[in-house]
């Protein structure tokens, strides 16, 4: 990895951290809030541009499409998260999603920076990855994962604005527990059985508790029409993210099947990672059907989108870090 590429990647990482703090700080002042939000967005944009150039530079240096291991996929994920937020911000004028999006991007940079040096180094491809299908199959999946994360985060903000603070607390707690399991699975020697248990238990109990707590609402917020309007907007933003992510996930799964058929003569082999991608697809298909039928309230759909986030997390990072096997071991480094 060249110094130039390292410099660009570090710039992007630091930009995400800086924009997070500026987004947070913007809530401390009514007077300069507009200016602070503009600065935060500007910093995020600088990071996005730096990361775009960093990814292109890496591709030029490696003389291949720069998406072949976990580290490179994290760069893509952070890029899609930042780009996705900037698009949403432009379309909807939302700002509060910014601190969650920049926190997510910063977490991915941090996670990537802690990976061993072998992941950072440009390494040759294993035979299975020497195919033009790699650049067709993987990018839609990574971008869809980022969009599903943004949908889940919009769900959290919807719960916040709707005054469902107890449900929100359960959802946030669940996400923290799930992320902790993945972090420990990647960087520690804790028995993966315990981590699998932590992930599964929190992912089941958290959303159930969140659903059961939906009846508890902050009365002051309920009366606030502006907050209700904002909640409606985050609901719409979440659906927009899913509406972008779902076709991309579908394309990613289908092109994966086509690649597998081209390489091994089989579209589907029930490999854990591809099975998980199907689970994620089914969960978002259910989300879309629920929304079309309009049987669930926006708050319940927000919790469904948080469940989708957890499944996406499990598909993207969980199956490699929590000790499940499979053909998709390229994202693994242990």
């Amino acid at each position: 990895m060249s110094d130039f590429q390292l410099y660009l990647t570090n710039t992007a990482g630091l930009s995400s951290v800086a924009s997070f703090w500026v987004f947070v700080a913007s809530n401390g002042t009514k007077k300069f809030q507009g200016l602070a939000l503009k600065i935060a967005n500007g910093v995020m944009l600088v990071g996005f541009i730096a990361l775009t150039v960093a990814i292109i530079t890496r591709g030029v240096e490696a003389q291949r499409f720069p998406l072949a291991n976990l580290y490179e996929s994290l760069l893509w994920f952070a890029w899609a998260t930042m780009g996705g937020f900037l698009y949403l911000c432009r379309s909807y004028g939302i700002q509060q999603l910014g601190w969650l999006a920049s926190l997510l991007a910063a977490t991915m940079f941090l996670y990537g920076s802690w990976l061993p040096q072998s992941q950072h180094d440009i390494s040759p491809l294993v035979p299975a990855l020497v195919s033009y299908w790699r650049q067709i199959h993987v990018p839609p999946l990574i971008v869809s994962y980022a969009m599903f994360f943004l949908a889940g985060l919009s769900g959290l903000l919807n719960l916040w604005q709707a005054g469902r603070l107890r449900s929100l607390a359960f959802c946030v707690g669940t996400i923290i527990a799930a992320c902790s399991a993945i972090g420990l699975g990647t960087f520690s020697k804790v028995d993966t059985v315990w981590l699998q248990l932590l992930f599964v238990a929190s992912s089941v109990l958290g959303p159930v508790a969140a659903f059961r707590s939906l009846g508890v609402q902050d009365a002051a917020i309920e009366q606030n029409k502006a907050a209700r309007k904002a909640a409606e907007m985050y609901d719409d933003v979440g659906y927009r993210c899913v509406a972008i992510g779902f076709p991309l996930l579908t394309i990613g799964i289908i092109t994966g099947g086509l690649w597998a058929n081209h390489a091994w003569g089989s579209y589907w082999s029930w490999d854990p990672k591809e099975s998980m991608a199907l689970v994620t697809w089914l969960s978002y298909a259910a989300y879309i059907h629920l929304r079309i039928q309009r049987d669930l309230s926006a708050e319940k759909l927000s919790i469904v989108s948080v469940i989708g986030l957890l499944l996406t997390l499990l598909t993207y990072l969980g199956f490699n870090s929590l000790g499940f096997g499979g053909l998709h071991s390229y994202g693994k480094f242990k």
Binding site: P127, A226, D236, A243, I244, N261, L282, A286
Partner: protein
């Protein structure tokens, strides 16, 4: 939030396909109720969602528990221990994708999808032909997004409607006019998304059915100079048709490495031969680059070194190699305490000979032998003759492939269409009041903004005044 949901309900009632309900509500409701009664219980979308969740849960369990079809039953016992593994095997969880539960679930979901497609999704296509009604001002005020503007100058009214029609057309709406009323529709193609996706899923079902009934697939590891015989290999059950009579001979197989020694690619030179040994077709395969003969595709799926030929005082022996990480090794016990270990990194590399005695902590390197060379071990003359590679050949015949590919294409088009928002705008000019409103199923905020922008532009061009309506309270600005 309750009021927002109520508003949503209003928009549901005013959805275009049932748009006429705004004008007369009772009759269509009865028709809808009657239609609902005619639907099969399998046409329930709630059932679809429930089955999708069950399917997701089942696959989730299957993804978490090692499957016998992939790692063998021993992997299940290795991971879970005897007691739990026995239960997993007994309950069918260790082979969940072949369990009666999964097959029944797949069958039910398939049935549900077929019934939903024909009873719910496809009939809605007819609604696309329906001409939507024009709304009165009072109906427009019931829409989730609406504006009521007073037109100050009476002579501007005709120009205003004409201007609105042009602006809506420029925004991508297909506009119809009737006197002082307009009706605009945007993204009608987006409404095709469910139908197209369901057509794709049904086509996929057809493709998979053709493949599973008339196709076959299998795997066989084949040594250099040996043949792949379809009948003798591990293959799927064939329902219709027969396996090829011809065989595939491995004339050559090699591994190409990066400078670091890591595998870059595996290659095999294959000859298709008939039962008399006549060569029918030849070609080289590598990972991602199969050979096709008579609609049978042969894939390079794995590669390794299977044996090493070594002669001991002129007696050639083929010793089985075991993969040891990046290397291969064979073990020759010399006596109770001593083992001779021969290790090979890859073809063309030298054979490294180690000795290991019980009291030694690690094996000791005795010598390295180049291919074709010999060394002396005591009284024994050891010659490294050659390494014998093995190539893993996967094969399949898939008559349903064109149908499956077509299905993939249709599904992708369907899900992409789903991203197109379907929007409606109604305009009515009654007396000196301009009513403008609409609905959008997706991207509601974007739609609301586009309508607000339109109104602002109209205000710039005409003498319009906004009527008082429910607005977000001043001082309660949303912090979004």
């Amino acid at each position: 939030m309750a009021s927002l949901l109520k508003q949503d309900d209003k928009s549901k009632d005013l959805e275009p396909e049932v748009g006429s309900k705004a004008a007369s509500s009772e009759e269509p409701k009865k028709v809808r109720a009657a239609n609902k009664d005619q639907l099969s219980p399998f046409a329930s979308v709630k059932l679809s969602v429930f089955l999708m969740c069950l399917m997701a849960l089942t696959i989730l369990i299957g993804a978490g528990v090692p499957q016998e079809s992939q790692g063998g039953q021993e992997k299940v016992f290795e991971v879970f221990g005897n007691q739990i593994a026995e239960w997993l095997v007994r309950l069918g969880i260790s082979d969940i994708y072949h369990s009666p539960w999964f097959l029944a679930l797949t069958a039910t979901l398939t049935l549900n999808m077929i019934v939903v497609s024909f009873q719910r999704v496809f009939p809605k296509l007819r609604l696309l032909k329906n001409t939507l009604p024009f709304f009165r001002g009072q109906d427009i005020l019931k829409l989730p997004v609406h504006h009521c503007l007073t037109v100050a100058k009476a002579d501007e009214q005709t120009a205003l409607i004409a201007d609105l029609s042009v602006r809506l057309t420029k925004m991508g709406y297909k506009v119809r006019a009737e006197g002082t009323k307009l009706m605009g529709q945007y993204g009608l193609v987006g409404r095709l998304a469910p139908s197209v996706t369901h057509v794709g899923l049904l086509t996929l079902l057809a493709g998979i059915t053709i493949t599973s009934w008339t196709g076959f697939n299998g795997f066989q590891p084949v040594l250099l100079d040996e043949k792949l015989n379809f009948t003798d290999s591990q293959h799927s059950k064939l329902w219709i048709g027969s396996l090829p009579k011809w065989q595939v001979r491995v004339d050559g197989t090699r591994r190409e490495n990066y400078a670091t020694g890591q595998a870059k690619q595996w290659f095999s030179n294959l000859s298709v031969v008939d039962d008399k040994g006549k060569v029918l077709h030849q070609g080289e395969i590598s990972v991602n680059n199969p050979l096709t003969y008579e609609n049978v595709d042969i894939y390079q799926s794995s590669w390794g070194l299977a044996k090493v030929a070594v002669s001991f005082n002129g007696h050639v022996r083929q010793l089985d190699l075991r993969p040891m990480g990046e290397k291969y090794a064979c073990f020759l016990p010399l006596d109770q305490d001593t083992v001779l270990i021969m290790s090979l990194a890859s073809e063309g590399k030298s054979l490294r000979v180690f000795a290991k005695r019980r009291e030694w902590q690690a094996p000791k390197l005795i010598s390295e032998i180049q291919a074709g060379k010999s060394i002396k071990l005591g009284d024994v003359d050891v010659v490294f003759e050659k390494a014998i590679p093995i190539t893993g050949l996967q094969y399949k015949r898939d008559p349903g492939l064109p149908v499956t590919y077509l299905a993939f294409g249709i599904i992708m088009i369907g899900v992409l269409l789903a991203a197109v928002p379907h929007r409606h705008v109604w305009v009515a000019l009654e007396e000196n009041k301009l009513y403008l409103g609409g609905t959008s199923r997706k991207a509601k905020v974007g739609f609301e903004r586009s309508i607000d922008n339109l109104v602002e532009k109209l205000k710039e061009s005409f003498t319009l005044q906004e009527q008082e309506q429910e607005r977000v309270d001043q001082g309660e600005e949303a912090n979004v």
